[in-house]
């Protein structure tokens, strides 16, 4: 080791930061035969001791108690203003996920209720019932108004077929009353629980065979836009 190298490690040497023991010993060995470096080591050691003395004198210095009081007060106010869950960061993340899950579940539930209750929520249709393309007559508007909603057993008598039917339940594909003018009725057989999908309560003896009849009103484009159930 030469003087330049010694100078580069002298601070680590006096503050005992030299990680390499060999280097440490080499530096001491160099100082042992180099007068100049021995003097440098001596003055650096004295400086380190002086600085340590200053650090020791200041060791007990701390911020006054009033600072802690003020900070605690601020912390409490902050916590009260923005209450955070007290179960750690993982819990916080879990709560965040659950919260969004609950929001999603609530949205789905509301959507289901709205869909199921749609026939009851909508104003009763007073659209004139048109003659279908297949010449099968639809229920008259008077008959529709007379029919109680949602209860097949309390439905009105269809003028032409002598059947009890429900009101037409819109499927949401056409809100224009003109659709009914160009409607085509198609009689279909559906599972017995199909009326439930439209919010209609059924009696047990309503569909003893497991099927129900329904008339589906098709628009001129072939898209169904309303349905009624036949008792």
């Amino acid at each position: 080791m030469n003087c330049k190298e010694f100078e580069s490690v002298i601070h680590e040497l006096v503050s005992r930061r030299v990680a390499d023991k060999t280097k440490h010993l080499e530096a001491l060995k160099h100082a042992g035969h180099c007068l100049w470096c021995a003097l440098r080591l001596d003055e650096e050691t004295k400086l380190t001791e002086s600085l340590q003395g200053l650090a020791g004198a200041l060791q007990g210095q701390r911020a006054p108690g009033r600072v802690e009081e003020a900070l605690l007060q601020a912390f409490r106010e902050r916590t009260l203003r923005a209450p955070a869950p007290r179960f750690g960061l993982a819990g916080k993340r879990l709560w965040g996920g659950l919260r969004w899950g609950l929001v999603f579940a609530a949205t789905v539930a509301i959507a289901c209720i709205v869909i199921l209750q749609w026939p009851h929520l909508r104003p009763r249709s007073s659209a004139p019932v048109a003659q279908g393309a297949n010449n099968q007559p639809l229920a008259s508007s008077e008959a529709s108004q007379a029919k109680p909603h949602g209860r097949p057993e309390s439905g009105a008598l269809d003028d032409s077929a002598g059947e009890l039917t429900t009101d037409f339940i819109p499927l949401g594909t056409c809100d224009d009353s003109q659709c009914m003018d160009e409607a085509t009725l198609v009689r279909v057989t559906l599972p017995a629980d199909a009326p439930l999908a439209f919010g209609l309560a059924l009696d047990n003896d309503y569909a003893p065979e497991g099927f129900v009849q329904a008339d589906v009103a098709l628009g001129s484009d072939g898209v169904p836009f309303a349905i009624r159930f036949v008792d």
């Binding site: 003087c3 400086l47 600085l51 209450p83």
Partner: protein, 204 residues
């Protein structure tokens, strides 16, 4: 709160973020002394040290999301904040100690520890002269000396506090110490940055 004393700073910070007052108190009591002394050592002003300590923890309460664990330990982050606030305060309020001006009467700004009954007048004088010498160093050198020599901080952590490289810390520390030796031994004043090493030594 006794169990909290074993917990690392970073964990205490997370608990504090979740509203745990005990965690905040533990973190404050653990770190406030170091921050207070750091500001005291670089500024020589006890009121400034008090203000900055309070400001650092207030900032932590207000918005504690600025800390990035990958950039160093929390204590380095706190000291970095303290340094930033101290510099801002000093620039804003020139009534604090005038750095580098030994005639400014800053000698009584750093109180000696009252818990030091064995100190003699001579020792007091020595410590006082060291204080003066440290306070008279140019800012960059003073910070390096305070962090590495007075607070025994590693070069890496000091670099994190000062926002510079480890090599820069070593260089500033080396020059700062050389200036201190000159001041304390009454040697001829040298310009900052001048090497005090006689090139002829390199022949040894």
């Amino acid at each position: 709160m006794a169990g909290l004393t074993e917990i690392r700073d970073e964990q205490l910070l997370r608990m504090m973020q979740a509203g745990d007052e005990d965690a905040f108190t533990t973190l404050y009591r653990r770190r406030q002394g170091g921050i207070y002394r750091f500001v005291l050592e670089i500024s020589g002003s006890a009121p400034l040290a008090e203000d900055v300590t309070q400001e650092v923890f207030m900032a932590l309460i207000r918005d504690n999301r600025g800390y990035d664990p990958s950039r160093g330990p929390l204590v380095a982050y706190l000291l970095g904040m303290a340094r930033h606030h101290a510099l801002r305060f000093v620039k804003r309020d020139r009534t604090y100690v005038s750095i580098g001006d030994e005639s400014s009467g800053s000698g009584d700004l750093v109180p000696l520890s009252p818990e030091d009954p064995h100190s003699t007048m001579s020792r007091r004088e020595t410590i006082h002269s060291v204080q003066q010498a440290v306070l008279s160093l140019p800012e960059h050198y003073r910070e390096a000396v305070v962090l590495c020599d007075l607070n025994d901080m590693s070069y890496e952590d000091a670099a994190s506090v000062l926002g510079c490289s480890v090599g820069t810390v070593r260089s500033r520390l080396h020059r700062g110490r050389a200036l201190l030796i000159q001041k304390l031994t009454g040697g001829a004043k040298v310009e900052a940055g001048n090497e005090a090493i006689d090139p002829s030594r390199c022949l040894a």
